[in-house]
Symmetry: D2
Subunit: 356 residues, 4 copies
């Protein structure tokens, strides 16, 4: 049993493999009457697009999205929105080695164990190319909650963390790392270059914040806003950890240190801190919703790793081809998309039960 659908009220289904003819998403449940054209979606795909700097994979994909349904005279109709992105640069190469041997850290062995065989071209369905479909769906989701503002950035690469004192939102779009700290961005250039030249890869942390989320979104107990964010983020390729607010740091604190004291405010209470990351009891508090996401270094490296073949023989594997030296970088638009999709879903879920 396979689940390629995410969400409850706003639901999207993705399909497609790395080297198939196309990939896409069907967005179901979108409210009617929202202005939508391809130009609302394309910028987000462009932000995720490979090949824009030497710090990402050199696969060249225009990632042009086409809306096939659900829009009439420029507005959403309330019926499913089918989005398609054609694959154009499935470079013909020799996959015999990947077909034969398992790349440690990849899904190769797990897919074989589950399904008996696998589409080994570029990782098939397990490729991060699938996230293009989420980014396209996420662009639609943003339009459903226009008062919410979502912004993600890379907050660490290879253990080199940004300095919060240097945080400058303007910087995020001005370097190839989605980095808000100009000094860190300068350091990362050589850091990632070195990893790339070594044939290695680097892990990263992505932080994402949504402002403008009103208090009251979230569906306890088993569709809590934080639980849904955890699922959505952990399901992104290469992600191994998710934190809401202070996350693991909170586990080192005492209660009074971790408190977010409240003060009378103009619209509901003001909070003097946001250790909680904007969520209490699985429900938004009106503070910024903040999540941190850990990306492992990609397993696609030129440094040989011991492995086994499908037939169980010992060997070594080197993953040639066009790979991201730090997949976390291009993870930023994906994390933002998942944030948008989950918030739009919870906006609608809340409206279902509580009106308004």
């Amino acid at each position: 049993m396979s689940f390629n659908t995410f969400g409850r009220a706003l639901r999207f289904t993705t399909w497609g493999e790395s080297h198939g003819p196309a990939l896409g998403a069907v967005v179901d449940g979108c409210p009617p009457g929202i202005a939508l054209t391809e130009t609302d979606i394309q910028p987000f795909l462009d932000a995720r697009k490979p090949g824009t700097s030497r710090f990402t994979t050199q696969r060249r994909e225009p990632d042009e999205v086409r809306i096939l349904s659900g829009v009439f005279e420029g507005k959403t109709t309330g019926t499913p929105i089918s989005l398609m992105i054609e694959n154009t640069d499935q470079r013909s190469k020799d996959y015999s080695e990947v077909a034969k041997s398992y790349r440690p850290g990849h899904a190769d062995y797990a897919y074989d164990a589950k399904y008996g065989f696998r589409d080994y071209r570029g990782g098939g369905r397990s490729s991060a190319r699938e996230t293009a479909a989420r980014v396209a769906a996420g662009a639609v989701a943003r339009l459903i909650v226009p008062s919410v503002s979502i912004r993600g950035w890379v907050s660490a690469i290879g253990g080199d963390v940004i300095d919060e004192a240097n945080f400058d939102a303007e910087q995020i779009g001005q370097n190839p790392f989605f980095c808000p700290d100009a000094q860190a961005a300068a350091r990362w250039e050589s850091l990632v270059d070195k990893a790339r030249k070594d044939g290695s890869s680097l892990g990263a942390v992505v932080t994402c914040e949504a402002t403008g989320v009103p208090a009251g979104w979230g569906a306890p107990i088993y569709a809590k806003l934080d639980a849904d964010l955890a699922a959505g983020m952990m399901g992104i390729n290469a992600v191994k950890g998710v934190e809401i607010g202070d996350g693991f740091e909170a586990a080192t604190l005492r209660g009074e240190q971790n408190a977010d004291p409240m003060r009378p405010g103009a619209n509901g209470p003001d909070f003097e801190a946001n250790h909680a990351g904007g969520i209490a009891g699985g429900i938004s508090t009106g503070q910024p919703v903040r999540v941190r996401v850990a990306f492992k270094p990609t397993s696609s490296i030129l440094i040989p790793v011991p492995t086994v073949t499908r037939e169980g023989e010992a060997g070594e594997i080197v993953t040639k081809g066009r790979h991201d030296p730090c997949v976390g970088i291009r993870g930023v638009p994906v994390v933002e998309a998942m944030m948008a999709l989950i918030l739009a879903d919870h906006f609608m879920l809340h409206r279902a039960q509580c009106g308004g």
Copy 2:
């Protein structure tokens, strides 16, 4: 819209408030023919039960479970299993302060913002008492995957981490902290005592490992095993972070450091490391499935915190009553239960699609 059901093939629904007459779970989808009586469930409830040491809340609840349906002549019938636990120690106290003011860090304000009002007695539905129902359901789940062995422990309290070199599984049941490191347990005794006496609270980290999980469980893309674990764990009261395998540590590594090299083994490949925590591409690899869960310090402290009233006036609140100085401790059986429920679900999901 509210979602008090979790799971896809094996699904459980919980209900009940902290100070209502009872709470319970309905477990749906359990395979037929499994021997089940209350005695299979009670030990897990006893492990979670409050009042067993001075390091947990002094509320006295026997937490005796009753099976109301789904079992005939000692075996599951394949129909829903209704489990009920009566509340017996809803101590009559004065809730006027909690009714009037919001406890920072609690769900009080968020519930009010969402629903317009709330059952303020003991936190109502947002109370961690709800987790008793999950623990009961989890005991059923364990019987569905009897070859899987699940073990959780506290690996840090208030930032004081166990020493892996001292790990001794036998220790876990021999101290009030589910601590596998006898030296750490000794230190924690004074640490938690101090927090308790200060009227404060401490955060903790719980680690949980499942062995005996075969390769191939997991439902890509949007019901990946790790994504479901992230959702299940993040939805536990007070949890703010979840890691699979090395988690955030992986984000600091290079690809070759994070690799889990494979070697020919007797039953499928052997792995020389388990940075991945037993999951690749959202599917189990046959290695132990390992998750780490961060619990914040409970917000129920005797140290005054600034807050606002329902009417928006400034004030301070002190949360009197019977509270856990470190909620992470009693989180261990809950984390284990969620692990069991998710693995049993994926066992069934895998069987649906792939047979066997």
Copy 3:
């Protein structure tokens, strides 16, 4: 895989067997702030209750409902509402024959084929006693859509159809058949008496109409209002057919005969007919929603029927015990309950997507 949950936004889960200690429903997603006590539910259970006339089973069950969660200070809180009904009259009898042989027309053989064994006491989970839980849940649903008025009646027994010209809503509550036609009710008395004395049973048709449903409820394509009604009604014990509006009669007509001409009206169009039963394209039109439901004669009869034993040997079976001579009669409150639950669900689904 078992599904004991129905609904999407308003969801209810039922549990319990005919001869277990209790049965119940958990209603999830109910909007907050609705006044609710047991007295809002009990009258509907009383209408369905067995033993109220000689035309229903003589099993005596008070069917007293208890609300165990989800209500605080007399109002729904938005959290799951747990409803429990204890079984009190599980008459001790000898089930050895039913345990050994399959009753044709019952679920006995099918349950054994599916699950390997079954709770044979009173039919276990397949007993129509389960519908008490739906009726209780339905009473909650009615409160969610208070402007909708739902009324069901028996429109035929054993092929003897009421005369629409005699339709008098007042009559429905004044005879033991929920019959709106006093003359038909008089005829049915002897008809059902004869079947009962013969040890036989009779089929029936139940009609149900909901007025006050605004135009626009329904979720195309795969949660159409009529499709959900079909599922909900066909899932009631003994039901074999469902019609919306004219149903099978429409299949005999020409387009112009089946048209529901529209005329300008005060609030949207007026319709000059309602062949469609208030639903077009799976969405309500603002006309009364009308459904007809066919109940087969119960298979529990005193007339011997050839059958086989669990071991595959030939035999005959006579179903002794306390049975309804015409299960369709007590089907009326159940059909009404399903109508209420589905409409409340669609009210909320519509609000999720379209607001308002």
Copy 4:
């Protein structure tokens, strides 16, 4: 909230409008390793294809399906199968009348009431063209349960019922009506011709039978096999009634007449009748699963019908264009497809819970 996904273990999502660029289905959960190419699907689309005789709409659509994902080297991979059918004959015509006025019996008014506006070209999403996507998905489903044989036919048109004594399965493919009774087919030719020439339309009944379904499929209580069939069939455009087995006829019988006596058989019991249509308690009995489906006459007729405009003014409407004089005819492949999809789903659901 919109639901364009159907199924639980095998799930398909459809998208597309009558006059958009394309329509399609994403089939999720298909077991891996099944041989699948477009040629497995095309014949079923051809059977449903318009324009094959004068008794169906003259819109010319090749309805060529393309598999965009989920298949590798000719076999299903277990990942979502994306199927796309391009629209080629969206004849440019003047839709101003339909845009302005509501066609009684169509979804026009209901869609406007729900969504505020609608894609009026050819009915948009409410067009029966959507069923092409189901037929494509159904072809995949058949391959999942290869031992099940599914056959549908038209059993009545405009009230003219086939004579069961003339039933000849060979005939079904040899006339333009999917009619198993050669004499009825001859009569229907003039009947449908007359309706067509009159600018009118006719209702029809489709019967569908699945043989080779083992005992034990079905998921009580709220995903009963018959309830799912009822939902699946009632959700087909123009359907107003569904019966399992004897359906409404059973409501006229006495218990002994409706019994399906059992006799010892080679593989489980033999049944001496099949009033139940192969389902008891929502679970298959091993007998043929039989369903009857009532299609109303299409509302697209040339005979003027009183209506209102969007602005609420009185008028009359004549639905010009290319329409089926009897939509039930082309309903046969759609009914078969839904039967296949539901049975494949229940095969997988059963395997999830009960193994095997």
